[in-house]
């Protein structure tokens, strides 16, 4: 009860017992309390790691940074060694999306699924946080001391190093240590192409393939749109070359497996893997005959007349590529391209590709040295050779791994140097001679990690930050500020010493022995498997098979019938003295003598997926019997090659159902159930190039639609009306859009079991349809997303108005209003609505950092679907509104459109007659899927035009 005092003098301290420091009675109990608290507090404090840097970026915000407003940084994609340009969207200091860099001279604004998904690697909570010495967490000082004392007879093993700075640093390191050697290898090797050029052109280069320049493309097993060397660059060029004009490129694919590239070809030939060399010999013989050049083999019968005719006709603008890891075959390819005069036009060896520099021979040499015990310290950076090629790394005296996460190789290492994630450090890339990308950090590094260059610099005794090293390297050559801003710079390219073509090395190749051959291939989603830890990629449906989460043994329809196999039968495959058991997938269009299996599966790092997906009583595990996703087939393949002849295939009698997002595969309904004239579903409307040239509207199904509706239109669109047009001719099915949508819209990963129950959540899916019988099929890809119908069937049936039409023509879904009757999904003719059957996995707080804060994370029981990236529309509109304008056409890009390497997607305001989308809707090729329902979709498609034989068109005529 202290009275208020009126003045300081009135306040007599003697009377105030509250603030009086009286004698503190410190008895036994208080002592125990205080002592307990102190000890506990000290223990708590001791448990925490000492602060190592700012963990909250922008504690004092930079002036130009507005919270909640995204900043895009131009950078380089590190998903593979294609070195595409990337735009990193960061929000409040954390990168949340990777997009294509529009101005980039190679990737031209596209970015593939693997590249976009690589962002999740940054938020991988199982990444190494600190170096490990002899299995124990250690300090960098201890690690440096341990490594430096053992640097004798050093071998450095890396994958292709794109970064000139790192290359220089490694070279410096090798030079500084006597007897040191540096070996590069690629799990998806193109070593044979380089070796062949060494033979024919006297220099070991990988040409840069210019698909944009080619008018005739003949590919022998090269999946150049899928995973071969630089798929984004190739896809951009391919789409450009296949523009529908007088010079539309013609593409023939000779292949043993059904690849994404083959599915887009005008003409596709099934070729046994052992016959590639023989076929190339025959092609060479034909071209040589036409060119009047000498060749040691005479022309005999083969399916090559059309291809050789077209190649010869388009000489100088044609291109022959081959994916085979066989130097003799590649030399033949060089010979053909040389005869056709393609060097300098469609193949650039003056400014060659630097994307694959692996040398299989050097790798073999290293394996020999290891087996002989000649290797002192083996430094392995960024690769997993124990998994990839079963390299006996344990035979080196000391193994040092520079890695981001635990894998088969780090398990055998004495020292693991925790590597900084590529989004956390400075680096650079030179994917093609003369094109340099500068990659900048976009987030503060998590943990005590060091980039490879920093580690090497430390071991060289001149520790420096990555920034100083990279900047120092480019000081002379480029304008740093501009290059960092643009994300790339063009520099003077180093001259390549090319000798004149040496025809003497070109020898004809005879067909290898037939019989069943095991062919390894890289899935479009997983590539060489380095991102096997990435749930987005594991759940990305393969563009051709539509299977997720597993690898499987693809056999042709013919072979399956012969061997009595159906999809899901587990077979035992034996080759090269090893065996694996895999479920069968019946793949139309594959050669009968081939069993094709994806590489990159069965990795230790996939054990983390044991708990992926919802938990309930009837759930099935995502992992297979080996506690991993898929099975590793590397032991079955010869090192550096993806082909193992003499394979054996035995049915085991057990079954494992595959998790497929599409289980019915044809554009036609099953024949025995087909009503008269209704065999073909006209969702894909296609025509041939010849028909198209005759009539641009060829292939369109005309429907008798009412000219007037009984009821006045529900919605008037006074302002903007959003629409999208997808060009099926440009679309290759690469699935970059599927992943872009997933990242942008926080689409959850649901796990193998849920996909198998047909509950995949992708808002954007790519429908893949086969047409034809058995293995004689053509393939069509169709991106399918919410069609934002004007007369939307979903809107009418929702009892609570959770899905409504906006005045700008979007079919909007109000998640918090949805009660989950699923009536809308039932009533959707396109089946694009996705239901949250469970609360999906968002339990990793680190991984959750990748979520886009502009998009709600949906809880269980609500419906969701494509919103046409409404958050992007709003964001751009708000920005433009500040100037009292509307965003210009093309400023708003949906996520799928932004990343599309083929630029097949156009989005915009169809009420603006000058907009690209309004123009595209006027294209005679424009059609609406299920137009006859009069639901009036806002998403249109342009017909699929292929230079295929007239057969397809006739089928359609019958159907119509």
């Amino acid at each position: 009860m202290n009275p208020y005092w009126k003045s300081p003098t009135e306040r007599n301290p003697e009377h105030s017992d509250e603030f009086a420091p009286g004698p503190a009675p410190f008895n036994r109990r208080d002592f125990i309390k205080a002592a307990g608290f102190t000890v506990f507090a000290a223990a708590l404090a001791g448990c925490q790691r000492a602060p190592i840097g700012k963990i909250i970026p922008h504690d004092k915000a930079p002036e130009e940074l507005i919270p909640g407003t995204a900043v895009h940084y131009a950078s380089v994609c590190h998903g593979c060694e294609a070195g595409c340009g990337a735009l990193i969207k960061t929000l409040d200091g954390r990168p949340i999306k990777l997009e294509g860099l529009p101005a980039h001279p190679l990737s031209k604004g596209g970015l593939c699924a693997i590249g976009q998904a690589s962002l999740l690697g940054l938020y991988d909570s199982l990444r190494f946080q600190q170096p490990i010495l002899d299995g124990q967490p250690a300090t960098w000082d201890a690690v440096d001391a341990a490594v430096k004392s053992r640097l004798n007879n050093v071998r450095i093993l890396t994958r292709t190093i794109l970064s000139p700075t790192t290359r220089a640093m490694i070279q410096q390191f090798v030079d500084a240590h006597a007897g040191a050697k540096w070996i590069e290898y690629d799990p998806l090797s193109s070593s044979a192409i380089a070796d062949a050029h060494e033979q024919t052109h006297g220099t070991r280069v990988l040409p840069r393939y210019r698909f944009d320049q080619a008018r005739v493309i003949v590919s022998f097993g090269a999946d150049f749109l899928g995973g071969w060397i630089s798929p984004v660059e190739h896809t951009a060029g391919y789409a450009q070359g296949r523009k529908l004009d007088d010079q539309t490129a013609w593409h023939a694919q000779f292949e043993s497996t059904t690849t994404l590239t083959g599915s887009n070809a005008d003409k596709r030939y099934r070729l046994a893997p052992g016959e590639t060399g023989a076929a190339l010999t025959q092609l060479a013989a034909r071209i040589a005959q036409k060119a009047g050049a000498k060749f040691d083999t005479a022309v005999t019968g083969h399916d090559l007349d059309e291809a050789s005719e077209k190649l010869w006709h388009a000489r100088g603008h044609s291109l022959v590529v081959c994916g085979e890891q066989d130097v003799a075959a590649q030399a033949l390819v060089n010979f053909i391209n040389d005869l056709l005069g393609n060097y300098g036009h469609t193949l650039d060896i003056a400014a060659p590709s630097l994307q694959k520099r692996g040398d299989d021979n050097a790798l073999a040499e290293l394996a020999r040295e290891l087996n002989d015990g000649k290797v002192g310290t083996l430094i392995i950076a960024g690769v997993n050779p124990v998994y990839d090629v079963a390299l006996p790394v344990g035979k080196a005296r000391y193994v040092v791994c520079v890695a981001q996460r635990a894998d088969e190789t780090t398990a055998k290492a004495n020292v693991v140097c925790a590597e900084t994630n590529e989004f956390e450090t400075w680096s650079d890339a030179e994917p093609v001679s003369g094109v340099v990308g500068i990659s900048q950090p976009v987030i503060v590094p998590r943990g005590q990690t060091r980039a490879l260059i920093e580690t090497l610099a430390a071991w060289l005794g001149k520790p420096q930050s990555a920034y100083d090293i990279v900047r120092g390297h480019w000081q002379e050559e480029i304008s740093w500020e501009k290059a960092v801003h643009d994300g790339f710079a063009l520099i003077e390219r180093k001259p390549v010493a090319v000798k004149s073509f040496d025809r003497s090395v070109v020898k004809s190749v005879t067909a290898a022995a037939g019989g069943l051959t095991l062919v390894g291939y890289a899935k479009v989603g997983l590539g060489d498997g380095r991102q096997a830890f990435n749930p987005w990629l594991q759940e990305l449906p393969d563009p051709v098979s539509k299977v997720t989460w597993d690898n499987y043994a693809c056999v042709s329809v013919g072979a399956a019938a012969k061997l009595g196999l159906t999809e899901g039968d587990v077979v035992r495959i034996e080759a090269n003295g090893a065996a694996v058991e895999l479920p069968v997938y019946v793949q139309p269009g594959q050669h009968d003598d081939v069993v094709a299996v994806a590489i990159g599966y069965g990795q230790q790092m996939t054990k983390r997926f044991a708990d992926v997906g919802p938990k309930w009583i009837q759930r099935n595990p995502t992992l297979g019997a080996n506690c991993m996703v898929g099975v590793n087939i590397a032991p079955l393949l010869p090192v550096g090659k993806l082909v193992a002849p003499g394979a054996k295939l035995v049915k085991t009698g057990t079954r494992r159902e595959l998790a497929s997002t599409q289980t019915y595969h044809y554009i036609t309904v099953p024949e025995k159930l087909a009503p008269a004239g209704g065999l073909v579903r006209p969702c894909i409307q296609e025509t041939t190039l010849a028909e198209y040239r005759h009539d641009p509207a060829a292939g369109i199904h005309k429907h008798h639609l009412p000219k007037e509706d009984l009821y006045p239109p529900d919605h008037k669109y006074p302002g903007r009306q959003w629409a999208m047009v997808i060009d099926l001719t440009k679309c290759t099915g690469c699935s970059a859009c599927v992943l872009a949508c997933q990242v942008e819209n926080n689409v959850p990963v649901v796990g193998r079991d849920e996909v198998q129950r047909r509950r995949d959540m992708h808002w954007m899916r790519i429908d893949r349809y086969y047409k034809g019988d058995g293995d004689d099929v053509t393939v069509a890809h169709q991106p399918m997303l919410c069609q934002h119908c004007e007369n939307a069937p979903c809107e009418a049936v929702c009892p609570v108005l959770a899905t409504v039409h906006t005045e700008e023509g979007l079919n909007a879904q109000a998640y918090n209003r949805c009660v989950g009757t699923r009536y809308c999904a039932n009533n959707c003719p396109y089946k694009v609505r996705r239901f949250n059957w469970f609360n999906y996995r968002h339990d990793d707080p680190v991984e959750n950092l990748v979520l886009n804060p502009s998009v709600t994370v949906r809880t269980r029981g609500v419906m969701e679907k494509c919103s046409l990236c409404v958050q992007r529309i709003q964001e751009a509109t708000i920005v433009a509104k500040k100037d009292g304008k509307l965003p210009a056409d093309g400023v708003i890009q949906t996520a799928c459109q932004q990343s599309c390497p083929a630029q097949a997607i156009v989005f915009g305001d169809r009420n603006d007659p000058n907009s690209a989308v309004a123009q595209a809707r006027k294209n005679p090729r424009h059609y609406l899927v299920l137009e006859e329902l009069n639901v009036r979709p806002a998403i249109g498609y342009l017909t699929l035009v292929r230079d295929r034989a007239g057969k397809n068109h006739e089928t359609h005529k019958n159907a119509g």
Binding site: T663, L673, V797, V819
Partner: protein, 471 residues
């Protein structure tokens, strides 16, 4: 008397055994005035266990998610709505018997109307459960009620058949319950008057609303009953019509069909009569109602089954004809796929149970064999469940884009939930048999031959009740 004798020959009695009025009260009330038999206990325990298992499954589903059902992105409804339509359909016989047959002065209805109405109520309860639990977020079910709320200007979508469903089913339940209760009043008074325990006397007295059996009470009762019958009559048609609109207003081939309302109503009456037969044939044996539920009753119901079953068969044919006639390849495919596609087994179960089976009832000897009729009624129930399954699943699983075609398999939780609704239905029905008269005594008394040839009229319950009131 000679005319009476002739009359008697022309119109055989509906109630056998030459019952007097007091016999009726004794027979019917005796069922629940005695201690429950062991058979009743066993049946009740089985039903209650089914209900418990089903409840556990429902709780698990609500706690975990709809993912515990076998649905997928293509087939968004299957067991849930199949069961919903199945149970709603079952209910229809009750309303038809109590309302339409009343208006048509079908005297045989008196033996079955009470049980059939009770069955309606319990079936609607089972049915109403599914729209609730099939929601992704069932705790927000009240969002489909249109009532002034403070969630902003949010209102329901009156264009959605699911909102119509809400109105149809709630109306149906309220009217059915009211009708059933109103019909119970005189019987409740009888129970009251016969009651030996205080509690029963008080409860029956309370719920009989002070029935005094006076002429005025009877007149008012009968006019109210007539009015309610008139009110309930359109519901027989409207409820299942609206349920059928859930499908008919959609764009899904196989659902988008104008024939659905009459087709569904016929199917509902068909399945409802089969269910009434199933229940009454069991009850007849177990509690010895042979005199009240006779071969003639069974015969009359079999004839309705023949009629509605044939109409259902006609609807199946019409659907195929219209599909062929429409020239719409999607529509045509759905029907071919129904009959010959992956779910053809379900289709042929449906056809053989619903079209072929009822035709057997043309034969008097089959109608006369109650065991066979009982088995046939079960078969029809199975068939009608499959009809809804076929309509829902076979239309959804392969619609427009072949890329989305999928298969549906029920999960364990779904099957248990369905079993649980049977548990609810039979538990409720068994409790009803234990506590209320299964046969409308007052109405049955009206169709007795009382007064024609009975030697000494027994004091009728209403009369006695009136005396008591006077006393």
């Amino acid at each position: 008397m000679s005319t009476d004798a002739q009359h008697q020959n022309l119109r055989p009695p509906w109630i056998l055994g030459n019952k007097s009025l007091s016999d009726v009260s004794r027979d019917i009330c005796g069922i629940f005035e005695r201690k429950p038999t062991a058979l009743w206990w066993i049946a009740f325990l089985v039903a209650a266990s089914m209900l418990a298992v089903g409840s556990a499954a429902m709780i698990y589903q609500m706690a975990t998610g709809i993912g515990t059902w076998g649905l997928n992105k293509t087939v968004g409804w299957a067991f849930d709505i199949t069961n919903f339509v199945f149970w709603i359909g079952i209910g229809h016989a009750g309303t038809l018997i109590s309302a339409i047959l009343f208006l048509l002065r079908q005297k045989w209805r008196t033996s079955v109307n009470r049980a059939a109405e009770a069955m309606t109520l319990f079936a609607v309860m089972c049915a109403g459960l599914f729209p609730l639990i099939h929601m992704g977020r069932p705790w927000l079910f009240y969002w489909i009620f249109p009532y002034p709320n403070n969630r902003g200007p949010l209102w329901v979508n009156f264009r959605s058949p699911l909102v119509w469903d809400f109105f149809a089913i709630s109306t149906y339940f309220i009217i059915s319950a009211g009708f059933w209760y109103m019909g119970l009043l005189p019987d409740l008074a009888t129970i009251r008057d016969r009651a030996t325990s205080k509690l029963r006397r008080w409860l029956a007295g309370f719920f009989s609303l002070g029935w005094d059996g006076s002429y005025r009470t009877w007149v008012r009762y009968e006019s109210l009953y007539m009015l309610l019958a008139g009110l309930a009559t359109p519901l027989v048609v409207s409820v299942h019509t609206i349920v059928s609109w859930d499908f008919a207003t959609s764009v899904i081939p196989g659902w988008h069909t104008t024939i659905f309302p009459p087709y569904f109503v016929c199917g509902a009456v068909f399945s409802g009569f089969a269910m009434v037969l199933t229940l009454m044939l069991i009850a007849r044996k177990v509690v010895h109602l042979e005199d009240y539920f006779t071969h003639r009753h069974v015969g009359a119901m079999c004839k309705i089954i023949i009629l509605t079953g044939s109409l259902v068969g006609l609807a199946y044919l019409t659907e195929f004809f219209i599909a062929a006639y429409s020239g719409n390849p999607y529509e045509q495919f759905v029907f071919i796929n129904r009959a010959f596609g992956p779910y053809s087994w379900a289709y042929w179960i449906m056809v053989s149970c619903n079209v072929i089976t009822p035709q057997l009832l043309w034969f008097k000897r089959i109608r006369g064999n109650l065991m066979i009729v009982f088995l046939l009624s079960l078969v029809i129930n199975v068939g009608m469940w499959f009809e809804r399954f076929v309509i829902i699943v076979s239309s959804l699983h392969r619609d427009y884009l072949p890329s989305s075609w999928a298969m549906y398999t029920p999960s364990l939780i779904e099957v248990l939930t369905f079993i649980g609704t049977f548990g609810l239905f039979f538990s409720a029905f068994l409790l009803f048999c234990r506590f209320l008269p299964m046969i409308a005594m007052a109405e049955v008394k009206g169709v007795l031959r009382e007064g024609h040839h009975a030697p000494a009229p027994a004091p009728a319950a209403p009369v006695r009740a009136a005396q008591e009131v006077e006393a």
